[in-house]
Structures are given as structure tokens and as C-alpha cells.
Amino acid sequence: MMSNTIFMHPATYFLIGAVLLPFANRLKLQKVLLLVVPLLAFYQIHHLPASFGVCHFMGFELTFGRVDKLTYVFLHVFTLMALIGSIYGLHVKESGQHMAAFLYVAGSLGTTLAGDYLTLFIFWELMAFASVFLVWYRKRKRSIEAGYRYLLVHTTGGLILLAGIFLRYQNIHDLTFTRIAVDGATTADYLIMIGFMLNAAVPPIHAWLPDAYPEATVTGAVYMCAFTTKTAVYVLARGFPGFTALAILGAIMTVYGVAYAVIENDARRILAYHIVSQVGYMVCGVGIGTAMAVNGACAHAYAHILYKALLFMGVGSVLEMTGKSKLNELGGLYKYMPWSLVFTVIGGIAISGFPLTSGFISKSMIIAAAGVDHRVFIMLMLSLAAVGTFLSVGIKLPYFIWFGNDSGVKAKESYWNMQLGMFIAAFMCIFLGIYPEYLYKMLPYPVTWHPYTSYHLSETFQLLGFTGLGFYLMVKKLKPEPKSNLDLDWFYRKGARVFMWVASKPIGAANDWVGEVYRTVGYRFTLAVARALSWFDWEGIDWVLDGSAKGVVKGGDELRTLQTGKIQHYIGGAAVALCIVLIIVVLI
């Protein structure tokens, strides 16, 4: 019964898989395991009961499995993405990277299925700790530093979340993870929301994302772009739909992310900033909170995971084959890596919301939901971000890598497994665009939205066409520069330096001074006291206890001659002593 429940949980497969990977690597079966585990999990999520894995622990009721339509759509895309990521990373021999990825996916699935805050928190932290290894495995100094910053920020977020959970328990003695009413939200709930928002990279607590993701391994970034932020979108959609703060922050996010995507130079940093923008749509949809908006957020999460992973795979292919990801160092690669270009462009037009791609059928739902809810300003911000999306990721990124000025960089096309991973993701992008019902019927609420209306098509044709014209006119202004741009991580990256200065200069000096005082005054004082005590102990107490201390010292000297220092003598002695003890015990 219990084992049945354990194997019901899709995260179990990834946890066991992670443990078995090093052994499978020795047996040359790693590639098999990498494919079997996600496939099993993908099969398993279709056979989950509404509730399972309920157990009691130290007076708390833990629910490891709570399944409804909202859970299902995220489980579906997470397990599918794990399969695509595994295929894309098949050529990586290091088991450690795959283990980290599997644990990360397990954390994400566990969070999605958790029915209470404690279970959620455990898997939440597993995600953070597993994913940081995907950054560290790049093994460059910058990656190691970025990984530590990533871990510190997520630990802080985790503590805020935990504080919220504790407060909530103190207030209402209930840790069930359900929807929180907008009117009844307390400090505890807002702390939980902030913890979630940190993982969703909502400004001003977003800078960890563009800091860490560009430093991750090629395959690691493909996983990271899919799971952390979208798990956060899921928990926000579960707990906090209808919070207007989320709608406003989400709309700001969309433009904020795009702004940096327009000005950045490193291709993976452009994509990382663009995650902020895209997750903004989802956060905004959750914040609007109507059935259509939450549907849109879920649909967009599904579509976004696939095309953003596709873009990271395309750019990752270039990084893998050329060792470069900065736009100013690349150009003219269409001759050498044409298929990576085709797949990346499919990701680029999907993210821009071209008709017949997945972006068209998901993004429009959120924008229309904002319109239906009469939030015109938010709607216009989302539309503006759509313009910036096509500009930065749809055109600028592929143009300067594969066309632009010929950089002289020569490369081979990427490995077959990388191309297969890209092909599956690209196929899904177009499949969902042509057949949106496949996605719509998975959504938590019934869908009444039809994306392919003449007006919506007309709007999209114009927006994308004239954004293209804008790029054509300004292409010289957009020439990539080998620079990076300040963001809010400045505060803790430079702030840490202030902290270190305070620690080394004023505090260090004070410490030295105290140490000096101690050495000159305290040390002598201590020695004097010790001498006095020693004299008192030796002469005073021993005198009282009739010379026993002097006797022990004498006895110790005699005992020392018995010690030979050979281990067999000690073992033999111990055995003899044990026999004596046994005999005594038996006789008595």
C-alpha cells in the first residue's frame, strides 16, 4: 500500500533515477536511464488519483499528492520538458549534471503536487539546492560566484516563505495549501507571496535570474529556464489569483525584461531577461484572476516552457560548438549551423506570437483577458512588451548570431541529440499553434476564447510587421556592444563589498585592538589566576583529600609502562577485559 503510493508520485522516478545514474554510467546505461525516467513519469501523471500520499508527521498532515486540472497542465509540461531536456543533454557524460537536473525536476514536480505548505517547502528547497549545481558544473570562476549568489538569494527567499508558513500556522493552525482570499490576506500570506514572487523573478527581486542563468552549463540552462519560474507561477496561480498587486507587477515585469533584452549583448542573458518579461504575462494573468486570465497564465506557461527552452537550446548549441554566446563575437553562422538557426527562429517567432505558433494562442488570451477586465493600461503594456519581444528575441538575437557581419567563426552543426531535442520542442510550438484545443482542454477552466479571429490576426500582422520595419530602420543602432548593464543585483554585489570592507576594516581593527588588550592584560591575568588555582588545587585540595592527586599521578606513571602502542595488544586486552566482565556478569 505504502510503496504503491510512493511509486504513484512522479518525483519518485526522478529521485531514484538520480541515485542510479552514476551506476548506470559505469554500466554504460546512462543514456537509457535518461530516457526511461522522464517517459515513466510522463506516463504516470496521466494515472494519478485526486489525492494520494497523505501521511502524518509530528502532528502535521502532509499531502504529497493533490491533483486537479491546474496541477495536471503543469505536470504535463514539466515531464515533457524533462524528456526534451534529457534528450538534449544525452551527449553529456558527467552523471553529476544529470543528477542535479533530475533532482531539480523532482523538486519541481513535488512542489506542484504538494497539498500543504510543509511538503511544498521541502521540495521548494530541493529545487534551489539541486539547480545551483547546474550553474556550478560550468566550473568557471564566474559560474561558481554566480552560483553562490543564486543560492544566497534563494535561501533568503526560502526563509521569507518559511516565516510566512510559521506565522500562518500560528494564526490559523492550518497548513493546507489552498487559494487565499484577497480580502482576508494577512501578513503571513503576503510573506508567502513574496517568497513565491522571488522565484517568479518579479522585480525588484528578479536579478538572481539574469545573473545566474547565463553562467549555467549549456544543458543546465535549458532546465533552469523551464522549472523555477514556472513552478512559481503555478503556486501563485494556486494561492494568489486576483491579487491586483500581481497584475501591476506582472505588467511592469513584461516591459522591464524586454528593456534589458533590447540592450544586452550575451545571447543567454538576453534570453534570461526575456524570461522575466514572459513570466510577467503569467504573473499578470494570475493577478487579474478571472477564469480567462488564469487559463491564459497556464496556457502561456505551457507554451513558454517549450519555446524558451527551444531558444536556450538553439543558443546553447552555438555555445557548445563555438564556445561563444556574445552577439558581438558571433555572426554569419548560417553557413555552418543552419538547422540550429531554423529551430531558433521557430522559437523566436513562437515567442513573438506569430499566427500558427503556440505564442499566438497563449499570449493573446492574457492580453484579451486584461481587455475584457477593462484594464486598458495593463493591456497596452503587455502589447508593448510583445513588440519588444519580437524586436529582441525574434529578430535581433538570430540576426546577429547567424547573419549580421561575418565574424569568421566556423563551427560544425550541433550533435544529433541536441537537434532532436530542438526538433521536438519546435514541433510542439507549431503543433499547439495549429491545434490549440490540445492545450485548451488541459486548462483549469473551460475555454471560450478563439484566437483566430480576423481582428486578432490583423492586430498581430501589424504589430509584428511594423516592429520588423523598426528593426530594419534602426539596425545600426542595435549593433551589439561588448558591455553589460547594471541591474538591481548591484545593491548586493556592491553591497557585499561594503559589508566585506566593514568586516575587514572597522570590525577587523576593533578585533585586533581587543586581541591586543587581551594579550597584554587578559592573558597575564588569566595566567596568574590559573597559577593561583593550580597551586590551590595541588597543595590545598590535595592536602584535604589526603594526597590522592599525587597518588593518581604516580599510578598513571605506572600504568603508562603497560601501554605498548600496538593495536593487537589493545584488542587482546579489550577481549580479555570483556571476558572478565562476562564471567562476572554470568556468575552474579
Partner: protein, 82 residues
């Protein structure tokens, strides 16, 4: 093979440019015939609204964000390593 196709297209970029301009004209013509039953706000009633939004949004973003970058945000790549 596919690389040659891209090369061919690149060599004929002038033709592509005119195809692109023709497409832009088409989008405007198309907007005259689009059904506007579900207008969300005033802009949805104006023919060509999204044309203006697209071109001015795009140019505006390039000017504003690139400008911000150049006067304030842009630093050397090892700014934090110094």
C-alpha cells in the same frame, strides 16, 4: 543544402525587402476588413492603430532603452570583478 538556401535568400535581399514592404501594405489593407465586434478600448476602433503602436513602440523602445543604457546602465563586462 539548407545553408545554400539561406545564402541564396541573403544574396537576394533587395527582393526580400520589397516583399516585406508589400506585406506591410497588405496588413493595412487587411485591417480595413477586420471585424471589430469585440473592441476592448478606443484604439480597437481606429484602423491602423496597431501599425502606429508597432512602429512607434519599437522605435521608442530602441531610443529610450539604448539611451538609458548609454547614459547610465552600461558598464564594462568585468565591472564587478574590479
Amino acid at each position: 543544402m539548407i545553408a545554400q538556401l539561406f545564402g541564396y535568400l541573403r544574396d537576394h535581399s533587395v527582393a526580400l525587402k520589397w516583399i516585406f514592404f508589400a506585406y506591410l501594405a497588405f496588413t493595412l489593407v487587411f485591417d480595413f476588413f477586420a471585424e471589430r465586434h469585440h473592441a476592448h478600448f478606443w484604439g480597437d476602433h481606429i484602423i491602423g492603430f496597431w501599425t502606429l503602436f508597432g512602429i512607434f513602440g519599437c522605435l521608442g523602445m530602441i531610443v529610450v532603452f539604448k539611451g538609458l543604457s548609454h547614459v547610465w546602465l552600461m558598464k564594462g563586462e568585468d565591472y564587478y570583478d574590479e
